[in-house]
Amino acid sequence: MKKFVEIFLGILTAMGGFVEVGELVFSVNAGAKFGFHLLWVVALGTIGIIAFCEMAGRVAAVKEQPVFNLIRERAGLNAGLVTLVAANLVNLLTCTAEIGGIALLWQLLSGWPYRWLALLALVFLLAVVWILSFQWIERVFGLLGLLLCVYLGAAYYLRPDWTQVAAGFVPNVPRLESSSEYTLFAYFVVAILSSVLLPYEVYFYASGAIEDGWNPSDVNLNRIISIIGSVLGSLLAVALMVCGAQVFRPLGVEPQLPGEAALAASMTFGKAGLLAAIGGMFFAFAGAAIETALSGAYNLAQFFGWPWGKFRPARKAARFSLTWMITFALSALVIMTGVDPVSVVEYSIVFSVVILPFTYFPVLVIARDKELMGEEHANGRFANAVGWFYLAVITLAALAAVPLLIATRGGKG
């Protein structure tokens, strides 16, 4: 029974923790611009995130050691340092985007100035991570993020043409009017892929496995949670895209802000739908902000051998605690300078994909290492094939990301 509850909670938290501000904005926008034609990218990304989360979780459970410790051991100091710097830059950028997203949502509700709300968000996040245990952070933000399920209902009631939805899952490129439209489509392919495969999810997941005290007997638990949690999580992304296609595409509107995405829910479920959507977004963004800040602190601590973890009293993991606090503070500061939050979201997604190969490659190398993982737990042929395939895919995406960002002038076409 206890095991069942653990699996159930794990799946739900993985699902609720799946969506963050970049994914939300890009999914709805992709639906508005290209209808159902980008659904296959969500599916492609989902299999990739499952493969890498499963590997990282398995490594953590089998070795009872977090991934960044092993990256340094196996890749050595210099290559490990490249991974560390890359991963933490993206963590910082993603955390900044999430805090911007929270401030925008609160502005929608209160009308207060955006910058001061970023400061308020900072205070809120610091207090929450300071006070709550790891398990409660996981539960509160994972489960309340499930309010976003309102989009599953909305997608259903908006009566999309289901044969067209299904056709969207087959890799395709729609017939477009101009070459710049095709470039924009390619940009969205890269952005959606990046938003599903954001690297912090993998590292956070593996460190979370240690926080939860996983050991080799949890390898199957890891498999179930990473597969079902990610599939259900990406169902939310699919629903967001369908809502974008049904609500905004006919109007010719390109929703840029998270608040506009909330309209899709309110059109089907009225005020309750609007509140559920905004609430769900808030918990999803705050959850992602917490995950990125903690992930940055985990990575640093594991790389340099500091005591870490929320399971220790903050005083006993002092540098670790200071690191996540500083990450929150820096992120909020960036937002308070008055940068355009939508641009921050765009950049966080595009630069994530640029460094994605650096952060995923070591995970694959370690998970397939029979000497390290043992015959029983090392990657089989299937996991290796999937791993290398996705590494090739994300390397291509990484190479294309910045040229596409420039060619489309930041997705404006």
Binding site: E73, A314, R315, A318, S321
Partner: protein
Amino acid sequence: MKPQHLDIVRQVLDHEVIDSNNVPCGMVDDIELEGRPGEGLRVTALLVGAGAWTKRLPSAFEGLAARLFGTQLTRVPWSEVESVTERVKLRSEAAELGLGGADRKAEKIVGKLPGSG
């Protein structure tokens, strides 16, 4: 218990160091060896701290890293090593060996906050 054959690069270098209470207190950032050509080579100490690892970076980054992270270096005699598994376990507490100093400094700051445990 030490294994009979120890590959110091694969099994010791860049591994986590834990003290006698199992508290992480750094990484094996470098290894000190002793010996002359034609004689046996002996491991004499583990080197822990930014002063050790920054020297292993490409020379272009060495100076910058040393400025950012400092040059603090602690020498842990090999005789202090109790066991080598995934982690390198020491016989004494971190503070006795001069390890974990930065964490104790940070502890003074974090310890001032209410509810720091």
